[in-house]
């Protein structure tokens, strides 16, 4: 946001940028020549979970990729975590390290084990050094999880951050050292979400986090999402599912690259 627009639009726009984790106004994103987003407006507050629905090709994945700073904004305006999406170049995009992105396809390395994948994500995020301190919270900051974590720690010594994140997502311990390519699709989803969770993002962007999961798995994922929001993170979930935590949430429907209803 330029200085001039701050002056002309007054204090409100500053407040707007600060309060929302995500704020898009008439956002247009081109994939090649195709307008995947054709003028999307949405705002998401910190600590809020927004569910995005829409048919195939409605622009859901592109919406998430835009919020993650992975595709360029072609026209319109947008801020994520207070940063202008129109700023180009990787130097201007260091806020992306505060975003957790679970893609439609998991970005896992098939030939590394589940634990190695999480450890790699953790090491890239630079949080590995903090892992010793983070033992009390494990990979996740959650209320219900802390007790279990503590029990585990006293029983077997301190589990690594990666192991506890995988445990939180209820991946059986015998699979931690299995290559990801040998896991089922649902188990891979859990590993991918563990990779997101160890980074403690302030904004979670989840593309079909429940895909190929059974009922228990969905519930577990829902809990993790709720915990993240309770800890103050904003969450955008693209889903077809009707999870229990999603019943009373704000739901936005994408069609033709824009939202059907005006969002506050």
């Amino acid at each position: 946001m330029s200085a001039r627009s701050l002056v002309s639009e007054g204090f409100d726009s500053l407040k707007l940028a600060m309060d929302y984790a995500v704020s898009l106004r008439s956002a247009v994103v081109l994939l090649g020549r195709f307008p995947a987003l054709s003028g999307a407006d949405i705002s998401v507050e910190r600590g809020e979970i927004v569910v995005v629905r829409g048919a195939n090709g409605a622009g859901k994945t592109t919406l998430l990729r835009l919020c993650a700073g992975l595709v360029a904004l072609y026209a319109g305006e947008g801020e994520v975590l207070g940063y202008d999406l129109r700023e180009a170049g990787s130097a201007a995009k260091d806020w992306r390290s505060r975003v957790g992105f679970l893609g439609h396809e998991t970005r896992l390395y098939g030939d590394l084990t589940a634990k190695e994948n999480v450890e790699f994500a953790l090491a890239l995020s630079g949080r590995a050094a903090l892992s010793a301190r983070a033992q009390r919270g494990g990979g996740l900051r959650g209320g219900g999880q802390r007790g279990r974590e503590l029990r585990h720690s006293t029983a077997t010594g301190s589990p690594s951050v990666a192991a506890s994140a995988l445990e939180r997502l209820e991946l059986p311990e015998r699979l931690h050292h299995e290559r990801v390519s040998r896991l089922s699709a649902g188990q891979q989803r859990r590993v991918a979400l563990a990779c997101v969770s160890v980074r403690h993002p302030e904004l979670w962007l989840l593309d079909e986090p429940h895909a190929s999961l059974d009922a228990d798995g969905r519930e577990c994922v829902d809990d993790v999402i709720a915990e993240a929001a309770a800890a103050g993170a904003a969450v955008i979930v693209v889903t077809h599912e009707q999870g229990k935590v999603f019943d009373n949430l704000r739901t936005a429907t994408l069609a033709g690259g824009r939202f059907m209803e005006a969002l506050p």
Partner: protein
């Protein structure tokens, strides 16, 4: 944000660990390169004089062809969801990503060169005269190929036609490496009467230019607009 050197080690280590597990370069690319050596034997009518005198050039053509596959593989690892997204999201310095990817390719190229080097001794009857020159030329050429290959590999990896456009973009650029390394090896194997050491400057300069330039432009190359 983590220290760039640590990021380089992480990325290169990850690529090499995946290679150790999957053995794609070892099981596919390396036999392919040896196969190329054998095909040259058939093509040159098993003329042992010709084979031993052309051994250095044939060696480097086999290395270049194998390098194309190794570079393609290096970026296929990261392809799952767009170009190297996880590094962008983790705010890793693009210079470190470039160095990490190039370093892993470099190590794999060295292994390829060792095996192919044994191959030309066995199949072509090349006899080594200057091992020191051979080692230095092999390392410098591998560094140049890995840097230029990583630079062009990321450009190609963003396109649907990545497999077919990479050789077209990369091979003309690698011509000086082929010339220089072939001359240096020619001297090392005693097949041509040139001073092979004088070619190392060219190989070194090439590696330096492409490492510097690759590191400079890798940031913009990773971004979308």
């Amino acid at each position: 944000m983590i220290a760039p050197l640590r990021a380089v080690a992480l990325i290169a280590g990850k690529d090499l660990r995946i290679e150790l597990r999957s053995r794609v370069v070892f099981n596919h690319v390396l036999p392919f390169a040896v196969l190329v050596l054998i095909l040259f034997g058939f093509a040159l009518d098993a003329d042992s004089d010709a084979l031993s005198s052309f051994a250095p050039g044939l060696f480097w053509v086999a290395v270049l062809l194998a390098a194309l596959l190794a570079i393609g593989r290096s970026f296929a690892l990261e392809r799952a969801d767009g170009a190297l997204d996880s590094f962008r999201l983790a705010n890793i310095s693009p210079v470190a990503v470039f160095a990490g990817k190039a370093l892993a390719v470099f190590v794999q190229l060295l292994v390829l060169e060792v095996v192919l080097g044994i191959g030309i001794v066995v199949f072509y009857g090349a006899s080594l005269e200057k091992p020191g020159l051979l080692v230095v030329a092999g390392v410098l050429a591998a560094a140049g190929i890995a840097s230029a290959g990583t630079l062009y590999g990321v450009v190609a990896s963003q396109l649907a036609v990545r497999e077919t456009i990479l050789p077209l973009l990369l091979l003309p650029v690698l011509a000086p490496v082929l010339i220089g390394a072939t001359r240096a090896f020619g001297d090392a194997f005693g097949t041509v009467a040139v001073n092979g050491w004088s070619w190392l400057g060219l190989l070194g300069a090439f590696a330096l230019v492409y490492t510097t330039f690759g590191a400079l432009v890798f940031g913009p190359l990773l971004e979308e607009g």
